[in-house]
């Protein structure tokens, strides 16, 4: 980790919230790519729901410290994923659901994040079901993930495109934390 990266990570949260901007992208897939690129460089950015005036449907935006706009844009340009616009935050951004619900079925463990549920076989650590959600990548994600070991299955972050995919990513991370971290 470089010295600059270290400084970025240590910047107090309060300062970042004092003067925020949001990065708006063409679609959710680009938001996920941009978030990956910025986090890889140490930026403490957050994915949120857009303010009402710029909502179109299945949207996500990235909240960032506005003062760092040029640096952030440069990082995104380097990663080949540029926002369609950068907007200062005037109204409250929506917070994604952050609570998890875990249900133990004996041989199986199910974790729900927002509207998405992921279930694994506790013995084999194989993903046995994906349920919930309403965006068209949900059946796709289920098709690609079910039947695969939790450690090898593609992550929703890598192949998903929508908010449902993003919610499944949270369930997937929580499942990995609970099942694979020891």
């Amino acid at each position: 980790m470089s010295f600059l990266t270290f400084l970025k990570k240590k910047r107090p949260l309060k300062d970042q919230q004092a003067d925020r901007g949001i990065l708006v992208f063409e679609n959710t897939s680009e938001v996920i790519r941009a978030e990956n690129a910025l986090k890889a460089e140490g930026w403490d950015v957050k994915v949120k729901g857009p303010p009402p005036e710029i909502r179109t449907g299945c949207d996500l935006v990235i909240e960032f410290p506005l003062i760092e706009e040029l640096n952030v844009l440069r990082a995104l340009e380097g990663a080949g994923v540029e926002p369609v616009k950068v907007v200062p935050v005037w109204s409250a951004l929506l917070e994604p659901v952050s609570l998890f619900h875990t249900k133990d079925f004996g041989e199986y463990l199910m974790i729900r994040a927002a509207n998405m549920k992921l279930t694994v076989d506790k013995k084999t650590m194989t993903i046995v079901n994906v349920s919930g959600g309403g965006c068209p990548d949900v059946p796709f994600l289920a098709q690609e993930m079910v039947g695969k070991p939790l450690s090898d299955a593609p992550s929703p972050r890598a192949i998903g495109h929508t908010l449902c995919g993003y919610a499944l990513q949270l369930a997937y991370e929580e499942m990995q934390r609970q099942c694979l971290s020891s």
Binding site: E95, V97, L99, A114, N115, G134, C135, V138, L141, Y166
Partner: protein
Amino acid sequence: MLVVVGTVPDEGIPLLEGQVHLENDMLVLQGRRIPVNRGTPALLAAAVAAGQILGNAPTYTYLVGDIGTGKGSRRLYEHLVRHLPKKAFEVMTFHYLQPDVDWHNRVLFALEEMKPRPVLIADAGFMYAAKMSGQAGAYDLFTPDAGEIAFLADEEAPHPFYTRGFILHEENRVPELITRAYEHNNAARCLLVKGKRDYVASREGILATIDKPLVEALEPVGGTGDTVTGIVSALVASGISVEDAALLAAKVNRLAGLYANPTPATQVIELIKHIPRATAEILEETLKKHLSRNAR
């Protein structure tokens, strides 16, 4: 005739429309065989299975490949806007489509031009867009699960992902969430809320609850909500009122789930195989009750 509009998780599938049937656990549409995993194919398979017992006309569908980029959904939206005003369908069910308020509104305008106006059922992504557009009242039936009713109840949330913490779904709060959804005009004329206990509701309140048989292992099984929506769609297409169809569909789905003897690893096709038997039994039981009431 029932028409189902949705997507399949395969970008290689072009926009297809036509009559669909089930053959060896696969959907067959225009000579293409489509696997029944979850999502719209599961809804369609359930509708076809129930429709066989109900003596329905073949189910018609508009399907397109979309893996979440929204490209297929937009192509389908455009097609619907152009062609629907000239069509005459009795029941239309909208399902896994990329939520897009602008396209939703254009499709709704096209639906309003249809004569007669079809019975409109929405679930999944299209229901999200219908709520977000403020046009939920234009629909006859929404089929949310417990998480989605919390989203409908939250007048601020544009997607279930952003349902505010104080509204977050808990099974025992469903009646309160239904009331709140109607207060903010974010519910269809009738709701079938799917969960541990199923609720049929309207603006007037809870019309019925169904909680037997309870098969806990069905909760993780992807597609069990899709099958309820398919069954209710087939029942409405057979001429049963939306409210009665919702009640019967919840019963049929639960019974089919019981017959599938599932574990949390069961795939939804196993439940779909039992829908014809469950439909026949629930219809027979309902008929018997009706006859014995009339005999008294």
